[in-house]
């Protein structure tokens, strides 16, 4: 046992060394420029976040983050190569330098941010655990779910959140645990459980899988905080800033009314000083980040502002039809807030 422990210590020391060696200020940007593309870790398939269409093209909100980083660095959003990663291997892939950015619906938590040699650069999507029920149940709030049979997916924090929530409300429930989202959707459909719980972004996808999606409704309650965002390796502040400000740029663009259609015109004749600074007509803010002057123009032109990306992938322009909710801008009732470019 003792030997095992010391072996584990050696292993973890080696992995720390690897992580430390990989992170050197400026190293990532230089390496990325040298190889000519951003290597981006994405999910192996999550509706609306990262998936592959019939032509083999990667799409989704997580994918668009990678494309925006490439647009900022190279002026070409297509200079990305994707590494589909499973939930288990994602952090190692980033630590070992296999990918430059990890954009894979990963919840920002203190332990992940601090103990693994990784840094979250921002929040692309504020998610949270919710409930999907059949309308015929006549329930309009999760508070009325006392005694319900609940379908859950195993192996996630979902189970813990659920039991905490029901205990806090002094309610009882019967859990039925499934391995995949397909199984739990079928189970809800066949009436084996009254309610299905998962992250809200997933529930909308689950709903489409049902034969009659309109008979089901996502309840308003959100019982956990799941802020999803991209990560980079700790220690390379320059690269961290680039990925962080790529997202901020998209949010600022939406706030200032800059979208993919009007961006070029606005870049030429910007009256609003905020817009002029954002689009590089005034000041040298791109240079500070070691990016070209027109980095935001390229991001918005090729990928879109945050609102466009949201609506196209998971919002009203997609099959999922998720409402903006928490993900609306701060001045429109949400919590998406980006520091200004100046």
């Amino acid at each position: 046992m003792k030997r095992l422990k010391s072996m584990m210590a050696v292993l973890s020391a080696v992995s720390l060394l690897g992580a430390a060696g990989a992170a050197q200020a400026g190293a990532t940007l230089d390496a990325v420029k040298k190889k000519g593309f951003v290597q981006c870790g994405v999910s192996d398939g999550l509706p609306g976040f990262s998936y592959v269409d019939a032509q083999g093209k990667y799409l989704g909100i997580d994918v668009d983050v990678c494309r925006a980083v490439a647009a900022a660095v190279f002026g070409d959003a297509d200079k990305v190569k994707y590494s589909p990663l499973t939930a288990k291997e994602r952090f190692t892939a980033l630590q070992s330098g296999e990918v430059d950015v990890l954009s894979r619906n990963t919840t920002w938590t203190s332990s992940r941010d601090s103990a693994m040699g990784l840094n979250f650069t921002g929040v692309t999507y504020y998610d949270g655990q919710g409930f999907l029920v059949n309308k015929s149940l006549g329930v309009s709030s999760a508070k009325e779910l006392d005694g319900a049979t609940v379908c859950i997916q195993a192996g996630t924090t979902t189970e813990l959140n659920l039991s905490d929530y029901f205990r806090a409300n002094n309610h009882t429930y019967t859990p039925i645990t499934y391995d995949t989202s397909d199984e739990s959707a079928k189970s809800l459909e066949s009436g084996r459980c009254d309610v299905l719980t998962s992250d809200q972004s997933q529930l909308y996808a689950q709903r489409i899988k049902l034969a009659k999606p309109d008979d089901y409704v996502v309840l308003p309650e959100v019982i956990s905080k799941e802020p999803l965002g991209p990560l980079v390796r700790q220690g390379d502040e320059e690269w961290f800033d680039i990925v962080r400000w790529t997202l901020f740029a998209m949010l600022n663009a939406e706030e200032l009314g800059v979208d993919s259609k009007n961006v070029e015109q606005m870049a030429k004749a910007a009256k609003n000083p905020d817009v002029a600074r954002l689009l590089g007509a005034e000041g040298e803010y791109g240079k500070d980040l070691k990016l070209p002057r027109d980095w935001v123009v390229q991001i918005v032109k090729q990928v879109g502002n945050y609102g466009e990306v949201f609506e196209r992938n998971i919002g009203s322009g997609s099959e999922l039809k998720i409402e903006r909710g928490l993900n609306a801008l701060w001045n429109q009732g949400g919590v998406q807030y980006a520091p200004p470019v100046r």
């Binding site: 292993l11 080696v14 992995s15 690897g18 060696g21 990989a22 192996d44 398939g45 999550l46 509706p47 609306g48 998936y51 592959v52 269409d53 019939a54 083999g56 190569k81 590494s83 589909p84 990663l85 499973t86 288990k88 291997e89 190692t92 892939a93 630590q95 070992s96 330098g97 296999e98 397909d182 959707a185 996808a205 489409i208 899988k209 049902l210 034969a211 997609s318 099959e319 999922l320």
Partner: protein, 365 residues
């Protein structure tokens, strides 16, 4: 003089011959069997008609999007639309002929080995084993001699499954035979080495091995050195399966009577010629079922590469079900996967039965 004329035989009772007799003897021979038969019929009646209804009668075959499917039955439009991805993964569309050609060459090239009349099987087989992998690498990966490079990260679908399975089989069989010989060797060092190897690889699950290769290995390698993911997976599959093959072959070696060894030695054959000419040909013949069993398991186990993010056949299907445009098609996808896997595994098993019959492994006395 009267001769006695025998009466003609009575025909057998109608209930004991013909279809009726067969039914009575096999399905309704007692109250218990009758009950079982009725129960079986009931189950078939419950399962088969709805299945046929779902898969064929109510199914939608034509269209382009999910809206073209009525959802009354199976929506094969989904499989049709994604067929290319299921077969080739992200292999560039205009280069897919290379995969087809590689498969065609494998079939044509291996064909003489299956013709009984062909004489130079051994020599031809060895030459084929040497030449074909190079040719296949050139065709599939390219990057030289006029073909553009298609990195392994773009390989996927059934093609990837076949590549992993074929490389696994081709690599594991010779390695496994060597390990089996080593385990029965009189030289202690070799014996210990082989026993350790076999017991180690048999002792860990394949999924763990793959996971280690993908997650732990990169941490030990110097930065910037990225061993190809597929290469890592194939190496692990070979080492893993070789341990199983070794034990199967060892079973065959132990079944060969001692007299065979002694006779070979008495004729002055050295170790390798004794093994190669006398013992192994008999031993391998005996263990064909075991080897084929391992290969079928290997073929199906390739889908475990899902854990390291390689998109083999099954994983390609799973990925396609995450497209919001096709949500809810998982049943169709998995049924398709099951049918394809079954065809391949059944094919392997039929071939092995033929091989056994031809080599007469049964020792008919």
């Amino acid at each position: 003089m009267d001769t006695h004329v025998f009466k003609p035989d009575q025909p057998a009772p109608a209930l004991s011959v013909g279809p009726l007799g067969w039914l009575r003897a096999n399905l309704f021979s007692g109250w218990f069997n009758t009950l079982l038969t009725l129960l079986g019929l009931y189950l078939v009646w419950q399962i088969v008609p709805p299945l046929i209804d779902w898969a064929f009668i109510e199914a939608d075959w034509r269209g382009e999007t999910r809206a073209d499917c009525s959802r009354e039955g199976a929506c094969w439009v989904f499989v049709g639309e994604r067929f290319g991805q299921f077969m080739y993964g992200f292999y560039p569309q205009d280069q897919r002929w290379r995969v087809d050609l590689a498969v065609l060459l494998a079939v044509v090239g291996a064909a003489p080995l299956f013709v009984a009349a062909f004489r130079h099987k051994l020599r031809y087989g060895l030459a084929f084993l040497l030449v074909y992998p190079l040719l296949a690498w050139w065709l599939l990966h390219g990057g030289f001699l006029g073909l553009i490079a298609v990195p392994t990260s773009q390989w996927g679908g059934l093609m990837l499954t076949l590549v992993i399975a074929a490389v696994g089989i081709a690599g594991a069989l010779p390695l496994g035979i060597l390990l089996a010989l080593g385990r029965r060797s009189d030289l202690p060092a070799i014996k210990v080495l082989c026993v350790t190897f076999i017991e180690f690889w048999r002792g860990v699950p394949l999924i763990t091995v793959l996971f280690m290769s993908s997650v732990m290995l990169p941490l030990f390698l110097p930065e910037g050195m990225n061993l190809d993911k597929l290469l890592r997976a194939m190496l692990m599959v070979i080492l893993f399966e070789a341990a199983y093959i070794a034990e199967v072959v060892r079973g065959g070696l132990q079944a060969i009577p001692k007299g065979q060894y002694e006779a070979a030695q008495a004729m002055g054959l050295g170790y390798w010629r004794m093994m190669g000419l006398v013992v192994l040909p008999q031993a391998l013949k005996l263990v064909i079922p075991g080897i084929v069993n391992t290969f079928i398991a290997l073929f199906k186990d390739t889908s475990l590469v899902i854990i390291i993010g390689l998109f083999d056949f099954l994983n390609s299907i799973k990925r396609a079900t995450a497209d919001p445009a096709w949500l809810g098609m998982s049943t169709e996808g998995y049924v398709f996967a099951a049918v394809v896997y079954w065809i391949f595994c059944f094919g392997i098993s039929r071939y092995s039965q033929r091989l056994e019959r031809r080599l007469e492994t049964g020792h008919r006395h």
